[in-house]
Symmetry: C2
């Protein structure tokens, strides 16, 4: 799986987006208003024109769960990855009806079921508000800079989208603050699951095969957007083209890469390599172990924990890959060389000065705050609810421009939806996660640290997690709604232990935000703007910004690569699954694959790889051919792509795609779905 | 806890011991024949004379379980750490009689109980066999070098110790092969547990307080050596001195530091930082998580898993500390500077040439073999038995000089003892460990790797671990004895699934050993000898060899340190435990501490820190004063000592000691043990 992008996590990290030194080969996650048509034409002898780009953009969908997707019918049908809807399937599953395991194939549209917390969004306009935001920042610094910037962004967003039911406005800093763009979205907050294969069909090979290729995964599913109880008729949709790819043919990936750190300075890279990644990998591995063992305790737990485990193992593989990349001397040298080149080109430019030193100072502060920032927000869905409810009550009482991000008028509708949607909390998982998080807090902060004492008092992590998760009623959406609607008075009156815990941590939580803004985010924003200027001066304007979970387009081609001296062919076939299966998990065939083995056309292309430049958040992105028709959905990167957060390696980075040909064949012979087939292939079945 | 030294693991790593650039302050784990008396006298105005050293050496004990200790009575009483006997206590515990939890205080010597697998050894002679071994090596290289060296060492050992019941001979390469010394030991293979406090008294503060200070731990226990069913009368014993330490007073730690890597070249450090430590920390964290969760399943599992978890958490803290040290730019720079200095001093010396390049090539080979070496020997006690039995059958049929290390005539008695002693195997722990090990093999080697396929065939790690551990009878010592005594015919006839598994892996296991000898150990031994010469030429002979789990002496003093700008006092008192206890695990008082709170003299020194230079394997080492009396047992390092594997930082590295004063007070008021008190304090109670 490509790592799903977690909006909140990305917001916390607040990585400044800077410029790459020079895009080579297919490198680049381009904004739609900055597509390098001339460059592509020089390489491929062809490039899309503006109408092609406009049509494609209008059909591209962002899923607020952290994925990408596309409309593929005029009745609101959305193609995405199975791993982007697995959460939804798990939420809708019960002990008697394991929708994640069996998949979901409703007999009619009336049986399609709403995915809790999910929202689909289509960009309708992109406007430049750089001058406006920069004027508000003026010469401010530190926390004042962040506050003024956030306040102005909140005002622009509110003014831009008076209709908060059908539209959403977001001001996005690009190039670390070199540009501010106002993205306007048409939003659909009723998104239903329309089709999903068996879990094993999508996860064949499991964690061992994840991020590897050759691959045999039906990592595809369909959602449908609804409005007023009816399927949406989107402004545009992509034409479904169930054919296999041609080696060497041009491909486009259109989606929302979550975040990249391609222009981190040496100081920022060192913090990732020395602190953030080791702590993350070490502690997450322990949680993985706890979960694996819990799931072995009963079939019920095995089912309930599956999706959580997939997410953890996927993230771990990403972080381990990043550590490996940063520990690779050749890769590290390339990044260092890029910085050295920019420094030398900028030498003597007084307006630029030494932003690298400013970044290094901010990174020192960030290191000092890292463990507190990490552990003073314990890992628990119930705690997340409590924190949001406590904060919302306080923030909503303030003027729009004074509120924390996430609580401004423009952001509140999605925050409210996420809190109030009926997404089940699995108590044992939440308790385990909280217990782990509190015990790691004590381990890393130390027993005698004031933050550690504030968290735990004299309780043990185990007893505290049992008390809080066991005693909280926040798993009930009605209880959350009462607290949301009741505002500060309801929060003040609540005796829910998780609410009390969130209230206890609130002051320190806000103080950490303020310290981080003052010492890290503010200085980094100011430095990034100067680094931005330095890059423009050195390399011109033809560069792409770091990823920001906004719509981008990448061009590339169908192509294998050389792995340890051996060529990896770019394409697998459905027949390959049968050859690879051993019967032992996770290499056991999905039951429908086994049952329909005789019917399946084994020559059909299953998965393929392309040179497109993608990253987590791109999951579910449509893969288009030159005609603009969809020939697949991107669902993964190869193992070499894991360093892609820091840099694209043209020779070995690959995007992994599930082909429309395979999905079509599955709809025909493995999971016969005539209505869906007809809808996709343009034959009206209604 | 100080990390216990694992002999086999250290043998596998085969780190070449080289010279430090320059010992500063209290740095140094000195051999008894190389004690720097002049240097100490210059710093302290006093140094021990030869009789002092001889007496001390004769009372020092090595425990083959991986710890250090000392005789403290004329009736074979041995002082060591509680964490050095915790394994034994766990082995002797049952569901009805939790000796680890309650501790062990026999009413009389007749009730003292034998510790499975444990052997006590006292050095009686050290001889130089350098010329002899080097002659055997001649100009050989690679695997031939290793083979010739090992064969000659086996011959020397066999000739040196005709009495294999009471003596043991070991040839130890020092300075990576610059010297070879023959150590002769008086051995005692019947070692019984004589006294242990409650587990919580020793582990108060648990993992959170481990490697930290201030500290409140009664990490002390007593063993007794027996021979012919009677307590041993040792050649020498240390005088028990139950007084608190004086700040600034000189202290000596006498014990067996396991291994250090203080003179790794840059290439070797990079391999640790980039490969070995990240893989180890990540995977061990997952095992930790699995075990934590398993232990939560029942009180029985909680008891059974405790000692395993303590070991894992302790190792993890060590490895995490090493990673942190290597990722600390200042620490890394110091190590790089040492190498640069030696290179510059050696420039132009043709006899030395460029051993750094040879080491770098060997390290490249070591990296390539690392995952196979790690995973082709699955983690399971039952597998270890099977592998030893399979190998022993084949090796014993060969001439002494042709055998693998561990199976030579001189090594066989201990190997046999470890295999045949009645040490219980806890099936669920062994199965969990094997499942984890096989699943990590598949994850790191990859599904399609030939080694991975050889391990798993078409089975899943889960199914295979269940089949092998569930089906094997090797947990029964009688079954092992039949296979040991039956030799190759018994092995050939065995249908035990673990024996079959070990036989399946044997050829590849041996091939990996050969490849490692050829490409790594051989070249490293040759290069280390030249690096050794380079260091002698540059810095003279007054330097100490890297640790080799042989007897060393370190001098230092009682002293606190500055931590983040604040002084840490060097001493805690028994009363501090009561102040620190919260009632919540692991900060709950041991029951006897709570019950006897009114009787305890709270002013008595509990733990203290010194500047002595120690490492894992030193656990249980006696801490002596100038008079040569024992005032404590070393049981830990502080958090800053974790980089001590690579380098000693005089300002912040500290040894943590449990004082004899506290042990004496515990024997008086907390665990009243009048006979033991009398024995220690020289009043014959018999």
């Amino acid at each position: 799986m490509i790592q799903r992008h977690h909006l909140l996590a990305a917001a916390m990290i607040a990585a400044p987006a800077l410029f790459p030194v020079a895009a080579h080969a297919e490198e680049g996650m381009w904004t739609f208003d900055g597509f390098p048509a001339a460059q592509m034409r020089a390489q491929y002898g062809w490039a899309p024109d503006q109408p092609w780009l406009d049509r494609t953009r209008a059909a591209a969908v962002r899923l607020t769960g952290g994925c990408s997707a596309s409309f593929v019918s005029d009745a609101g049908l959305i193609l995405t990855n199975h791993h982007c809807v697995a959460d939804c399937l798990a939420d809708l599953s019960t002990a008697d009806n394991d929708l994640l395991g069996k998949g979901f194939r409703p007999a009619s549209r009336a049986e399609e079921r709403k995915c809790p917390g999910q929202q689909a969004e289509v960009v309708t306009a992109i406007g430049d508000v750089t001058a406006d935001v920069k004027r508000a920042i003026g010469s401010l610094a530190g926390a004042d800079l962040v506050k003024a910037r956030d306040a102005r962004m909140a005002e622009i967003e509110k003014a831009g989208c008076p209709d908060m039911v059908k539209t959403r406005c977001q001001v996005v800093p690009l190039y670390g603050g070199g540009q501010y763009k106002l993205y306007t979205y048409r939003k659909y907050s009723d998104v239903r699951i329309a089709w999903a294969p068996e879990d094993r069909a999508a996860t064949f090979g499991g964690d061992p095969d994840n991020f590897n290729f050759p691959r045999y995964s039906l990592d595809a599913s369909f959602l449908r957007a609804y409005e007023d109880g009816k399927p949406v008729k989107p402004a545009a949709f992509l034409k479904w083209n169930p054919r296999g790819p041609q080696p060497g043919e041009a491909t486009f990936v259109v989606g929302n890469p979550g975040s990249t750190s391609r222009l981190y300075t040496t100081a920022q890279l060192a913090m990732d390599r020395e602190l953030r990644l080791p702590v993350t990998v070490t502690t997450l591995s322990e949680l993985r172990g706890r979960l694996i063992r819990s799931m072995e305790e009963s079939p019920e737990k095995y089912r309930e924990g599956q999706e959580e485990l997939n997410g953890i193992e996927n993230s771990l593989k990403v972080y381990i890959g990043r550590m490996k990349a940063l520990n690779d001397p050749a890769f590290a040298a390339r990044l260092a060389q890029a910085e050295a080149d920019l420094r030398s080109k900028s030498a003597g430019n007084a307006a630029i000065g030494d932003p690298w030193a400013d970044v290094a100072r901010a990174v020192d502060a960030s290191r000092a705050l890292y463990l507190a920032n990490r552990y003073m927000r314990p890992s628990s869905s119930l705690y997340d609810y409590a924190r949001t409810l406590v904060r919302a009550a306080a923030e909503r009482a303030k003027p729009n421009g004074e509120r924390l991000p996430g609580y401004t008028d423009s952001a509140l509708p999605l925050t409210e939806k996420v809190v109030l949607d009926n997404k089940p909390v699995i108590t044992w998982i939440d308790r385990q996660s909280l217990e782990w998080s509190l015990s790691k807090a004590r381990e890393y902060l130390g027993v005698d640290d004031p933050d550690s004492k504030l968290l735990l008092g004299s309780e043990s992590p185990e007893a505290m997690a049992a008390r809080l998760v066991g005693g909280s009623k926040l798993g009930d959406p009605a209880v959350r709604k009462a607290l949301w609607d009741g505002g500060q008075a309801a929060i003040d009156a609540s005796t829910d232990p998780m609410i009390l815990f969130a209230k206890k941590l609130d002051a320190r939580d806000r103080e950490l935000t303020r310290l981080t803004n003052q010492q890290v985010s503010g200085p980094l924003t100011a430095a990034a703007a100067r680094l931005s200027d330095a890059r423009f001066a050195a390399y011109g304007a033809s560069v792409y910004p770091d990823a920001t979970f906004t719509l981008r387009i990448s061009y590339g081609k169908v192509d294998g690569w050389m792995e340890r001296g051996k060529p990896v062919p770019p394409v697998t076939t459905l027949g390959g699954t049968y050859d690879r299966s051993t019967g032992a998990e996770p290499f056991d065939l999905a039951p429908a694959f086994a049952a329909n083995a005789a019917k399946v056309d084994r020559a059909v292309t299953y998965n393929f790889v392309t040179t497109n430049d993608i990253i987590g958040g791109n999951s579910g992105s449509p893969v288009l051919d030159k005609a603009g028709t969809v020939i697949g959905a991107a669902f993964d990167g190869n193992i070499n792509s894991l360093g892609g957060n820091y840099g694209y390696q043209a020779d070995v980075n690959r995007t992994v795609v599930v082909s429309t040909a395979a999905v079509n064949e599955a709809l025909r012979t493995i999971y016969p779905s005539p209505a869906l087939l007809a809808e996709l292939n343009g034959k009206r079945s209604r």
